[in-house]
Structure formats: structure tokens, C-alpha cells
Symmetry: D3
Subunit: 69 residues, 6 copies
């Protein structure tokens, strides 16, 4: 399946922290660059996510903000 | 200002594509890793964004999805 | 690619309304049930979306609100 | 109250799964078509949501993504 | 219609700036406190929004970030 | 840090309700005007948020909906 979200970044699952409805998933995009996702507990199960697995971080362009110092 | 959004990634502004209300901003996170943001035209101006400038890509963890092949 | 977004609804592309940065895509989920998406112009091109094509409407569960009369 | 979110789909509450801060609400849009929403526990209470009740799934058009096989 | 979005703030429409697909709507929440919304051009028409009209700014709690100096 | 999100509203932290992954933060924007945010538990800690502290409610303009009676 290809999706309209403009940002699909190759990543590795570094850590999974389960919660009651949602779980926190830390993805390593490249050496020293991490992205944190909060997805539902069911989604972690249905995608069979495990630490070390290959995955993608997917973000819509309207959900990316830009900041400057 | 520090913000609750969990993902604040150092980046460089690679390209800015203006539109009538929104503009598309392409940010380089690291060698070969780009993120596309859509922000308002006014935000591009108020942040004085120019191509080559230092910036951050900021994304809430609830806006990051995870995908697998 | 399988994605953590909990809502992946089979649909048919009914109408595409292009804009300067974004385009409006009207998807028919089933007889008389339509969903409107706003995605980038580039996404419409990269997905080769045409009216009448099969597609999916994909929505994260945290982006669905519930209302009552 | 009428709202700018472009997608207001008639639905029936099929299931409610409570969590510590958020709750998962499964809505039936039509025969065999379900949408999952994650809303706050307080919102479930203030809307008096119960399984079998009439409701609407409300989604902004910028939160709908399009995917193809 | 009552909605699960936790933030429904009484406001007055101060300014409307139309675009090709989206329009910018500036809402005054109280003396000197303004909120900017970007909604579709069609939504502005279907809600018959005019400058000076009473309205509400509606935001899901998961879309509100917190920042500190 | 300055951010592209168009809405940065001065506020005071009125109440913090912790959850397993997320926490609910109630912000007072001005006399009688409150905004509820749901952010991660870690974000509450990393921003050292305490009840009574000065803060900002930050919302992207694409995340603000408009409603009318």
C-alpha cells in the first residue's frame, strides 16, 4: 500500500513502552536520530512490532511544524 | 521556548514552495533524509525562513504513524 | 506496507479538485457515504490518483472525533 | 452546532474500551464498515456515550490520508 | 450537535482570508486573544461565516501542545 | 525557539492529571477561558510543568476547527 502522507522514513524499532490504550514506540531513523510515535496498543500487536524490527515512521506534511532558534 | 512535542529534529531548509495560503518547506534532517512540512505562508515570513537556513522539524508523537512492509 | 493508523476504509475516488499546494479528493466509501481528504498536489500525482480508481481512506484513531445530537 | 470539519458520518456506537486518560470507541458507519476513535474518558462521559447509541464520526479533511495498493 | 473535542471556545469571526482550497479564519476569543484556523473554502461557505459573526474555535486536546520559556 | 504553529497563547497551568502514557493538562488562557491539552507523561516531566506555572498553549492553525450554532 502506498500512502499520500509525504513523509515515509525508513527506521528501526528501538523501544516499545506499552500503556492502557496507547503505546510509545521509539524509532531510530539514522545514527543518533530518533522519532517517538504514540500508536494504539492494538496497532503494535497487529503490526507484530518488536524491538529491532525494520519499520517506517510515517508523518503527513501538514503535521510537521518548522521552528528556528 | 521548549515545547511538549516529543520530536524536535535539527534540520536545514532545503527548498520552499509558496502557495496561496500554505507553503511547502523541504527540510534535510541528515544526508539523504528529508522531511516535507506544509505551514502557512505567514509562518514562513514570520520565521524569516530562507533556503540553507538552520531549523528544526517539530512533530507531536501522536502525529507519527508506524508502518511495516 | 501496513500502517498503524487504525482506520483503513476501502473506497473509490469520486472527484479530485486541484489547488496550488493542496488538492481536495472526494472518496466514496459505500453507497451514499463519502469522505473528503485534503492531500498535497504532489501526493495526487505520485499515487497516480484518477477519478474512478480504487483507493483507501486512511485515518488515525486519534484524529476521529465523536459527536451526538 | 455545525462544524467546519468536512466529514460528519452518521454512525452507531458499537463498543467502548476505557483507558486511564483516553478511551477507544468503535463506531459502525454502515453494514460492515467500522471506524475507531480515541477520545478522552471525560468526553465519553460528557457525551453520555453508550453502546448502541446514535452518534457521528467527525474527521477534518486534512486528517484523511489516501492510499492505493 | 455536541462533540468529543474537549476545547470549544466562544469566539467572534474577526477576519477571513480566502485561498484556492483552504481559507484562513481569524477568531477573537476575548479582548486581545486571537486564534487562527485554516479550514476549507467550502466549509466557510457551508457555515455562512462572515466577519463579525459569533462562532466557536474547536480543538481536540491531543492537538494542543504545551510550551514554556 | 520560535515555531510555525500560528497559535501560541500565554497561559497558566491550572491542573495536571497523569495517565499511563499521556497526561491531561488544563491551561487557563484568561479569566474563565480554559484549554485542555493531552501530552505525554515524559513531556510533563521534561518541561518541569507544575500547577500555577507560566506556559503557552500551542496549536497549529490546521488543527483549529470553526463551529456555529
Amino acid at each position: 500500500m502506498r500512502i499520500s502522507a509525504r513523509n515515509t522514513l525508513k527506521a528501526k524499532v528501538k523501544k516499545i513502552i506499552p500503556g492502557s490504550v496507547n503505546s510509545e514506540v521509539i524509532l531510530e531513523i539514522s545514527e543518533g536520530i530518533e522519532v517517538t510515535a504514540i500508536i494504539t496498543k492494538d496497532a503494535v500487536q497487529s503490526l507484530n512490532l518488536t524491538e529491532g524490527a525494520d519499520a517506517y515512521a510515517v508523518v503527513k506534511s501538514t503535521d510537521v511544524m518548522v521552528a528556528v532558534d
